[in-house]
Symmetry: C2
DNA sequence: TCCTCAATAGGACGAACGTCCGAATTAAAA
DNA sequence: TTTTAATTCGGACGTTCGTCCTATTGAGGA
């Protein structure tokens, strides 16, 4: 009835295996059988815990989103002024792209699915919204008076800044010759 | 033997139907039967002309890429100086996002597939490369002396500029409340 | 007119998948 | 110890899909 340690570890093993497999092979190429096998669990357990494939993905993505937001906020907190926080924000993406590209791959894969599914779409908009609000609060509120961008909505600027990270990162993932591209992102800091 | 008008129209009908269906429903949700049906063609014709589903997608994407590059270059040609060309470049994305969002959806869908497939990956890197070279040639060559970005590779800047469009656009597609976000992109013009 | 080959058509095939069900097992509650 | 419910397990089901095969049609060249 209550979730003992084995149960928790069982469900979490499935989630971790799903995360690993999907972020390595893509959701479309990930079968429940393969995920179950990697988790050391029988196929029907996936339906028992998550009802169906969509339900499993929703939980996997939610974990990614929560982790993502937490890490970003932690970085934003550091830095004593807006410019330093922008710098930290950009550094976070540079480092993640380098050390944990699986996170980005999962995000891109999920983004394309979000275009065709209401459920996934709302989940991803929610991430984008929270992310932009974070950036807005920690960086762009009342700090744009002396900037080129003073006439723009601070939330719009936050979204565009994140969009720049997002759109640049996929070019790096797709082309190994562009490994040095993330460094150039630092040039953006000087704009604020 | 030779391609008469009926043949051309047959193959092109398939391509157009595939483009429409994939950009509306997504590649993963598009079955060859449905595409054939929409094209007014029998299923086996798709294998006859394109060998398999991957072959069909490759041709559809190549058409999109060629059209894309042509339109971008046409826009870049207009404008008498670098700043005007940046402005035109951004305007192109604003208009396309508004008038032809199917193009963006197809691009995002294809991007996620490119992450898991070598063939698609090379096709998309090629688009990104040509796009960045276009922007570089028309805008950033020898025009960065007076800019904040003078120490950066002009190709890197071109890629980041496009990345900004790319990453901003998906936020608009996913959230209908962000319809006014593209306007804010114009603020970027002032940075160069 | 006959021949040749590209084009069209319909259907069958097997594989892979998500889902579902009923039985067996476990462990906590009574 | 008995009971109850949650968990684990193995397997089957039906569907959908991409692919392939063969026959038929139609038009241009010899």
């Amino acid at each position: 009835m209550n979730q003992n340690f084995d149960t928790i570890s069982q469900k979490e093993r499935i989630l971790m295996a799903a995360y690993d497999y999907i972020s390595c092979e893509g959701y479309a190429n990930a079968s429940l059988r393969e995920i179950a096998s990697n988790a050391g669990v029988v196929l029907s357990q996936l339906n028992y815990y998550f009802k169906n494939k969509e339900g499993l993905l929703i939980e996997v993505i939610q974990i990614m989103i929560d982790k993502y937001l937490l890490e970003v906020e932690e970085r934003l907190k550091q830095g004593i002024n807006a410019r330093e926080r922008v710098s930290n924000f950009i550094k976070y993406f540079q480092e993640t792209l380098n050390e944990n590209p699986k996170l980005f791959r999962l995000l891109y894969d999920f983004s394309s699915m979000a275009l065709w599914s209401d459920v996934f779409g709302k989940q991803l908009s929610n991430l984008f919204e929270k992310l932009s609000i974070l950036v807005e609060e920690y960086i762009f509120i009342d700090t744009l008076e002396n900037s080129f961008l003073k006439n723009q909505s601070s939330n719009a600027i936050a979204r565009i800044l994140f969009g720049t990270m997002f759109g640049t990162a996929i070019q790096v993932l797709l082309d190994s010759k562009e490994k040095r591209l993330p460094e150039s992102l630092s040039a953006i800091e000087t704009l604020f």
